[in-house]
């Protein structure tokens, strides 16, 4: 076969293949007793049972005045979600803010070194000090989803940003893009990882692990679509702030009594 014959053949081959496929599909559809192939616009099975993702829109409320910095949330998260045990890998973590008399704000992550917690003595220069729990903000307009080159990270219908570990190529763009530093690189699987609001728990009607173990109810989880949810009540009763509102990411983690120094 020479080049001319090959190209002629190709010109015929592609439409012929399409024609054959169409004929085969029609024959299959006409055949009795055979299941029809799934249409591309139908919702595929997600293993969710009766749970309807479109009926929910999840968020979390955090009351800063209630957080005692006990770090139970970060430890529970590691136990629930198989996060690497070494420090610096967190899906949720707690920061201690110390605003000094000269206006400087000092921030440290108390989840990193449990031994150093509580060693901090009274400091006359501290004007005010408090804890801020942090996690993925599950943005309605997530920058991490925009930058993913392979579409491995995506928003679900119920407002949770998930990562498809099979698609993720470990390029770390999303880790750079997240303005909240909520993502980390899981070196065991060479993929990005982050908080999922414990998606496997909330779809079964349980609370996320961090909310479950919080001893002071500083974290509140709820469905923003339901007017009776605790989160909607929390939003109604408190002055609400979100982190970095100027970025228009529309975070769904709402902070009550958010200090102006918190970034």
């Amino acid at each position: 076969m020479n080049k001319r014959q090959f190209l002629k053949g190709m010109i015929l081959f592609i439409p012929a293949g399409q024609l054959l496929e169409t004929l085969a599909r029609q024959a299959e559809a006409a055949g009795p007793g055979k299941p029809k192939p799934a249409k591309p616009d139908a919702e595929p099975d997600m293993g969710l049972g009766d749970y309807q993702p479109a009926d929910h829109w999840y968020g979390m409320g955090i009351e800063i005045d209630k957080c005692i910095g006990c770090n139970r949330c970060a430890e529970a998260c590691k136990a629930e979600n198989d996060v690497p045990q070494e420090p610096f890998f967190f899906r949720t973590w707690v920061e201690r803010y110390r605003v000094m008399h000269d206006g400087e704000a000092r921030v440290e992550c108390i989840s990193v070194n449990p031994q150093q917690r509580g060693e901090l003595q009274e400091d006359r220069d501290v004007l005010r000090t408090f804890f801020v729990p942090k996690l993925c903000n599950q943005c309605a307009h997530p920058p991490c989803v925009q930058v993913c080159p392979v579409g491995a990270t995506f928003s679900t219908r119920d407002g949770v940003v998930l990562i498809d570990k099979d698609r993720c190529i470990g390029c770390r763009y999303c880790i750079q893009a997240c303005p909240y530093g909520a993502r980390y690189f899981d070196h065991r699987t060479s993929t990005a990882d982050k908080c999922t609001f414990c998606y496997h728990r909330i779809t079964r009607g349980l609370l996320p692990a961090c909310v479950e173990v919080c001893p002071t109810q500083a974290r509140i989880f709820g469905d923003l679509r339901s007017k009776a949810s605790r989160l909607v009540r929390f939003q109604r009763m408190n002055k609400i702030g979100v982190l970095k509102p100027a970025l228009n990411t529309e975070p769904k983690v709402y902070y009550a009594q958010l200090d102006g120094e918190v970034r």
């Binding site: 592609i14 293949g17 399409q18 591309p40 919702e43 595929p44 099975d45 997600m46 293993g47 969710l48 005045d65 209630k66 957080c67 005692i68 910095g69 006990c70 770090n71 139970r72 529970a76 136990a79 629930e80 979600n81 201690r96 803010y97 110390r98 917690r117 509580g118 901090l120 009274e122 400091d123 501290v126 000090t129 408090f130 804890f131 579409g151 995506f154 679900t156 998930l162 990562i163 498809d164 570990k165 099979d166 698609r167 999922t196 998606y199 496997h200 728990r201 779809t203 079964r204 349980l206 609370l207 692990a209 479950e212 173990v213 919080c214 001893p215 002071t216 109810q217």
Partner: protein
Amino acid sequence: MKFPEQVRRLAAVTAVVLAAVLVVRFVVIPASYFSTKLHRANAVKREVARPVSFAGVLACRECHEEQFDAKSHGYHKNVACETCHGPSAKHADDPMTVKPYAPRDRKFCPVCHAYDAARPTGFPQINPTAHNPLKPCITCHNPHDPVPPEVPHECSACHAQIARTKALSSHALLECTTCHTASEQHKVAPRSALPTKPQTREFCGQCHASGAANPDAPKVDLAAHGGAYLCWQCHYPHQPEGME
């Protein structure tokens, strides 16, 4: 307007290639090839299928109704069981073989209750080095219904040295409140609300003056004994018989 021959040919070839690309993209390749639905559904499926390690309070309640009721009106009513006992879904599935963790030593409670300036005002905090050193918290506090212990346990939590001295003295059976009155505020802000101290010789005289009601206390004649000195200038009230 006249285009040169080579431009027209090039335009024709470009148009054919473009048309072919469009046909292949929108007609030949089925839409499902570009759809993200299937692989995202698989990702969701994997995420949903992950095992749960925290069973949740309601699962604990099914068997441990008693502890649940004890906890339900105390200060720890909002603390979930698994906050202290650790992830217990395995225990809920197989209660006989898998037992959850129960913290009994001094390391656990200070995770929440050690003093930290960043903790909210009013949250009960202690200094673990000074507060009844080496004693497990559960000897004085019931973790399922924690209440502040009564006097003198309550006082000895901070004034341990005085309590130890007094416990060996002849004043061992006197409660701190016999001589001192401490307001509730003293427990929250010790230095801003100081407890009272006896001010006069007559206060000790209530037990130790000749003719006082208490038959066990040694008696002295207040008028003759010690002149104008106050009692505690010679006798240390927490160990009145003095060091041997």
